[in-house]
Amino acid sequence: MRALPPAPPPPGQSAKRVPHYLWVGLLLLGLLWALHSVSMPAGLENAVTLREAQASLPQHPQQPPQRVSLPHILDDQPAAWSGWVDYRLDWPAALHYDDPAQTRLALLLPRVGTRFRVLLNGHEIYQVGWYAAPERNILSAWFPYLVSLPPGLLQAQPQQNQIHIQVQGQLLERSGLWPLQIGYHGSLFERHQVLEVWQVKGTWMMLISSLLMGLLSLHLWRTLNERLFLLMAVAALAHSVRLALSVSLEPPLSFGWYFYLHRLAFTWYVGFFLLFVAELLAFRDRLVHGLAWFLIGVGPFWLAWTLHTQDYDLYRIWAGAMAVCGALSLLSLLFRSLQRGALESDQILVLLVASFTLATGVRDFLVVQLNFPGDADLRWTSLGSLALLFTLSWVLAQRATASTREVHRLNQSLAGILAKREAELRQAFDQLRASEQQRAIEGERRRLMRDMHDGLGSQLVQTLNMVRSQKHTLDAGSVESMIHHALEELRLMLDSLEPMEGDLATILGTFRQRIEPALVAAGIELDWQVQDVPALSSLDAQGVMHLFRCMQEIFANVVKHAQARRVCVRTRSDAAHVYLTVTDDGLGMQRPHTKPQAQRGLGNLRARAGKLGAQVRFFDAHPGTGIEFAFPIHRTFTPEAGDTVPSVE
C-alpha cells in the first residue's frame, strides 16, 4: 500500500481567505455552549430534582433501609446490591396540589436501569423489562423516561403519596438510579423531548453517518488502495457497532457478549482513529503508533479480564487509559507538527476537531464514570464523535478529490511518455526496416554481381579472347553470335528482375521468348501446354533466375544431345504442389554414353531445384526424357493480392 502526499491546497484558494478551521472552531464553541445549556438546566419551573432516596433490599429484609444520594451506582456497592433495590422517594415539600383529579404530574428519569418499575401508592404505573425472562438482556439506561403519575392514584394530601422505583441491576453496566425530576407534566415533557433528541435521535444520526462513512472509506480504500481510508473505515465501522449496540433496548446478545463487543468496538474506534490521524498528518510517530496498537492489542484481553472479574473498576481504569492515550497521542502529534513547521489547514482542522472530541470524552469520563459534578443525563462524546465524523468525511473527500486529480495528472504524464516511447519505437522500427531493406538490397546486389560475373562477364571474356586470339582469321559471324548470346544473357537476367510475383506461367512465357528462336533454328517444335497455377512464393527474382538456368540447362540438353523433334512444356497443380514438366521425344535416358558434361548439368539442375525448394524427378517418356519439378505451395494468393508479395525493387 502506498500513501499519497498531503493534498495540495485546492486551486483558487486565496491566502487572504479566512481558513476553514476558524469557522469550524467557532461552530464547535457554539456546540459546546449548546451542550452546556442542555446539560445544566437552570432549574426547571414547576419541577423538583430529587437527589436522595431511601434504599432498601427487598431480597434481604434483614438489611436496614438507608438513605442514599443519587446517582446511586450498584457497581460501587457491596455484592448484595447487585440484585433488586427499592428506592423510596420523598415527596418534595415544594410540590403540592389542591385537587388530585386536576393535577397532571410526572416523573422524568434521565437514567435508570437496567430493569426497573415505578410504583405510586402501591400501584405499578410503569415498567421496563421488569417481567422479562432473567436470561434476556435489557438495557434501559441509554434512554430517558417520562412517567406520568395517574391522577386517580394520587392522595388528597401530597405528602401522603408513596413513590417507589425498583431497580434490578446488572454488574458492569453502571446500573442504579440517577437524579430524577418530579413536577408538572408539561415542563418535564419538554425536558424529556430535549433529552430524547440529544441522547437517542442524536445517536441514531451518528450511527447512520458513521456507517455511511465506514462504507465509503472502505470503497475508497478498495479503489485507491490507500491505507488512510482503510484505517478510517475500520474506525468508523467499529464506532457504528458501538452505537448500534448502545441504542438497543434489548440487544439480541447475552450481556457478556454485548459488554465485550460494545467496549471492544469503542476501544478499536479510538485505536484506529489515532492511527488514522497520524497517517493523515503523514507522521510515523512511534509513540502514537505504540499507544494505538496498545489499545487495539491489549483491549480484547483487558476487557475479557474485566468481564471475567465483573469488576467495574477495571473498566474504569481502561476508560481512563483510553482517554490518556488519546490525549498523549494528540499532544504528541501537535508537538511534532509544530516542530516540523507550518501545519496545513486540513491538519489544523482535524487536530482541532479531534481535541474537541477528546474534550467531550474526558468530560464524560469525569462526569459519568468518576461522578464529577455535572449533568450525567447527556453524554457529550456522542456529539463530539459526530462532529469528528463530519470533519473527517470532508477531509477524506478532499483527499479523494486530490487523489483523482493526481491520477489525472499522472495519466496525462503517462500519455506523454507513452507517445514519446511510441515515437522512439517507430523510429527504431523505421531504422530497422531501412537496415533490412539495405541488407536486402546488398544481398540482391551481390547476387546480380555474381550472375553478371558468371554469365555475362564470362561470355564477354570468351568473346574478347576469341577476338584477340584470332585477329587475322576473325569470323564476324562467330563474334556476332557470341555477342548475341551475351545480350540474351543480359536480357534473361533483366527479365528475372521484372515483377512477376511468382506467376509460373508468365515466367515460362518470358523464357519462351528467349529460347524459341534457338528451337526454331534447331528445327524442334515446341508444344506449349502451360496453364495458370497458384503463385509460388519461392519464385522471387533469385528464384526466377534459378528457374531460367534450369530451363536453359534442359533446353540446351534437348537441342544438343537429345536429337528430339518435339519438346512439350506443361504446368499443372494439385492441393499441395505445382508441377512443371518438360518432355522431349529424343533418345531418352537410356543413352549408352552420357557425357560427363551432361551429368554435371543434371547435378546443377538438382542443386538449383533444391534452392527453389522444389523436388526434381527424371523419368522415361517413351520415347524421350521427362523432367518434373514439384514446387510445394506454401501460400496461395490471387493476382489481386499479389501486391503483398515482397518483390525486389
Binding site: 548475341h484 545480350l487 543480359l490 536480357r491 533483366l494 527479365d495 521484372e498 515483377p499 512477376m500 506467376d503 506461367a505 508468365t506 515460362l508 512465357g509 518470358t510 523464357f511 519462351r512 521468348q513 524459341e516 506449349w528 502451360v530 496453364q531 495458370d532 493476382p639 489481386e640 499479389g642
Partner: protein
Amino acid sequence: MAHNRRMPSSTRIYLIEDDRTVLQFVHHALALRPDWRLVGHSATYSHARIMAPNSLADVYLVDLGLPDGRGEDMLRLLSLTKPEAELLVFTVFGDESRLVHALQSGATGYVLKGCNDAELIEAIEQICAGGAPISPLLARLLLKQLRNNAPAQVADSVAAAPALSERESEVLKLVAQGYVNKEIASRLGIGTATVSTHIKNLYRKLAVHTRVQVVRAAQDRGLL
C-alpha cells in the same frame, strides 16, 4: 513481303535516337527496302520536339532514353500531333514496366535494339500491317493494371479506364501464359490477324484513355 492495304507505297520513317550506331544500323537495314525512306532524325528531345511533329513520317522510332528529355513525353506529344502515325519504342531491353508507361503515352509497339536488319524491317512491316508485339510479362502487367483500374471505373465514370472486352481479356491472359499469336488463334478459333488486332486495339485504348486524361488535366489547369 506482306503489304498492308492501308500501307503507303513508300513508308516514311523518323528516328529519334542519340546513338549514331543505331542510326547507321537503321540506314543499313533500310537498304533491304529501297522503297522506304528515313525522312528525319533527331538526336535530342529538344530537336525532336520541334521537328518530329512537322514530319510527314508514317512510323516513328523513339528511344526512351534521350539525353535531354523523356521518351514518354515525346510519345505523348506525337500521339497528340500525329494520331495516325505508328510510334515504335526503340529499346535495348524489353523493360516491360517501362513499356507499359510508353504504351500509355501513345506507343503502338516496340522493337529491341539488338535485333538484326531483317528483324527490324519485319517489326516495322508487322506494325504497319496491324500487328502488335507483346510479351507475356507485358500482357500480365496490362491485365493487372486494367483490373486495378476497374474500381475507379465505377467510382469515376467520367474518366473511365478503357473497357476490356471479354475477347481482349482472353487474348491477354493467353499471352501472359506464354502462348504465341498462332496458338492463341487456334485455341480461340479466330484468325491470327484478329489476335493482333485485339492487342493493337488494346494499345490504342490505353493511349486514348491516357490522352483523354492528359487533355482533361490540361483543361482543368487552364492550359487548353
